[in-house]
């Protein structure tokens, strides 16, 4: 059974491109666009990895990350954050909050694929 990725992103064309990319690589991809209900979606789907945008409607990626890491059940869940906010302090804050990998937009497909493979390697 293929591993499951939850892509939390609100840009439709990024969703389509990244979903295509990961599906081609053998992943089962679920997508979700609302920050406010993203944590509930993680609890519902129990994905093997979350790809998380930083700026989302409802709740920011940083808040979602903090909330997930505050729950013991998700302290080791691989979370790849994609963001247009590449400043040093944003990266530092995300790392402090427990992000597994931080990637700035515009990213390359190869970088995303490699990061997803790395983070889910047992």
């Amino acid at each position: 059974m293929s591993k499951r990725v939850l892509l939390v992103e609100d840009e439709p064309n990024i969703i389509e491109a990244v979903s295509f990319l990961l599906s081609r690589d053998g992943w089962h991809v679920d997508t979700h666009s609302d920050g406010g209900t993203a944590v509930a979606k993680v609890q519902e789907l129990e994905p093997d990895l979350v790809v998380l945008d930083h700026m989302l409607p409802g709740k920011s990626g940083m808040d979602i990350l903090t909330e997930l890491r505050g729950d013991a059940a998700y302290k080791d869940l691989p979370i790849l954050m994609l963001t247009a906010r590449g400043q040093m302090r944003d990266r530092a804050l995300a790392e402090e909050a427990g992000v597994s990998r931080f990637m700035t937009k515009p990213f390359s497909n190869t970088e995303v694929l490699n990061a997803v493979r790395d983070l889910t390697r047992a």
């Binding site: 840009e11 064309n13 990024i14 389509e16 491109a17 990244v18 295509f20 990319l21 081609r24 700026m55 994609l82 247009a84 906010r85 590449g86 400043q87 040093m88 700035t104 937009k105 515009p106 990213f107 390359s108 497909n109 190869t110 970088e111 995303v112």
Partner: protein, 420 residues
């Protein structure tokens, strides 16, 4: 196009000179009747014109492949790709150019990004769109076996995102260039009173000949300035104009121009010659159009309160300036003129001679601690300036965009050395 003026050629073939310029620089692909018309006007074979464009396209594709960490790109087959799918190749090349332009924009604007929420939102939009385009373009380039349905879908996405990128880029350029524009636009988009004043001064070329001649009134200039929308900006502009009027009464630019034209620029000698304070001389030199010098003024806290930029010496619009600027040294030695040659670290570095001076802002009073202000005239070096033996100090603009390593004055990491 040796021997033929671009404007003449454009007229002969019935297109605008600017459109012909785009064609000449391979920014527009041509074919059909237009290609034949240009070839006829130039007296060459049509094929010889399209070959150049093809070569430029292939070169851009190779550049795109090399500049991206994607070892899968078949460099040696770039010409085949361009030949078989010229439209897609052009889309990819355009996206590559656009991403490059965006990356340069982001690099140059991160300082402002940290301080301007509207700009942060605009750049987020641009980067997200660029991310979608880059990812989609890579899928199209790397997956030759895509089904027609997916190919059409991604094609539509690219089209949609390209339009979105185009619209948001135009909006952003409009926002950033506002203070270089004519009309009232600057006042609408400037994010601070200081920016409104910068826009006003820029629009007037930092020169107010009618005020200097005594035929214009400060209040009228302020009232007539569409860039000055807020009360705060009017207040700040009033200070600048009153200072200009007061300085002009002490020293006419025509007299200063004659004196400067007589030898090496020496503000201290000019101060002695005209029996004026060095601060007046530095401000007047900054107003002299023929000198094309930059000028900055800071308060005792180091905040820039006046900025006249000069080409190739970046002055931050937001945040603190480089603490290595001679102006900040001058604050600790009021009354002394400091002269220092400097070079800003970074691309297109040029050498400047800076004259820095600090004085108190108000008249002397008993038992009142003086409030100092610093100023610095930034003069582009000329080859025969006669100061080549002097030490050149490397300075920056703002820590965030400065690449100087192991700098004693660094406040925060640079995005250029730490990665963005």
């Amino acid at each position: 196009m040796v021997g033929t003026r671009q404007a003449d050629l454009a007229r002969e073939i019935g297109i605008s000179a600017s459109y012909l310029n785009l064609i000449e620089h391979n920014r527009r692909r041509i074919g059909g009747k237009l290609l034949l018309n240009i070839a006829r006007a130039l007296g060459v074979e049509p094929a010889s014109l399209s070959e150049g464009a093809e070569a430029a396209l292939i070169a851009t594709l190779r550049e795109a492949a090399v500049g991206t960490p994607m070892p899968a790109a078949e460099l040696e087959r770039a010409d085949e790709f361009a030949g078989r799918f010229p439209g897609w190749a052009q889309v990819l090349a355009n996206a590559h150019r656009r991403v490059g332009a965006l990356e340069r924009t982001v690099e140059s604007l991160t300082d402002r990004l940290a301080h301007d929420p509207q700009l942060a939102a605009s750049l987020h939009e641009l980067l997200s769109t660029a991310a979608a385009i880059r990812s989609t373009a890579s899928i199209l380039a790397e997956n030759k076996d895509l089904s027609d349905e997916w190919r059409n879908r991604f094609h539509a996405n690219m089209d949609q995102d390209s339009r979105r990128l185009s619209d948001s880029s135009k909006a952003l350029v409009g926002y950033l260039d506002a203070d270089a524009d004519d009309g009232a636009e600057g006042a609408e988009v400037a994010s601070s009173p200081q920016e409104e004043v910068d826009s006003f001064l820029h629009h007037n070329g930092y020169s107010f000949p009618d005020l200097e001649a005594g035929v214009a009134d400060v209040e009228q200039l302020i009232t007539d300035a569409p860039q000055l929308g807020s009360m705060a900006s009017k207040h700040l502009a009033r200070g600048v104009l009153e200072q200009t009027r007061s300085d002009a009464r002490l020293l006419k630019l025509s007299a200063l121009s004659v004196a400067v034209g007589q030898g090496v620029l020496d503000p201290l000698a000019l101060a002695r010659r005209f029996s004026l304070a060095p601060s007046v001389i530095l401000r007047r030199l900054a107003s002299l159009p023929s000198l094309t010098a930059g000028f900055v003024v800071c308060d005792r806290a180091g905040s820039l309160v006046f900025r006249k930029p000069v080409n190739r010496f970046a002055v931050p619009r937001f945040g603190a300036a480089c603490p290595l600027w001679p102006m900040f040294d001058a604050l600790s030695a009021p009354g002394s003129v400091r002269v220092q040659r400097v070079r800003q670290v970074g691309r297109n570095a040029a050498t400047f001679t800076c004259f820095a001076f600090a004085e108190q802002r108000h008249a002397l009073e008993y038992n009142v601690q003086p409030l100092m202000q610093g100023m610095m005239l930034i003069v582009p070096d000329v080859a025969d300036a006669g100061r080549s033996e002097e030490q050149i100090v490397e300075v920056g603009s703002n820590c965030r965009v400065c690449a100087r390593v192991q700098c004693p004055g660094r406040r925060e990491p640079s995005i250029l050395s730490e990665g963005f």
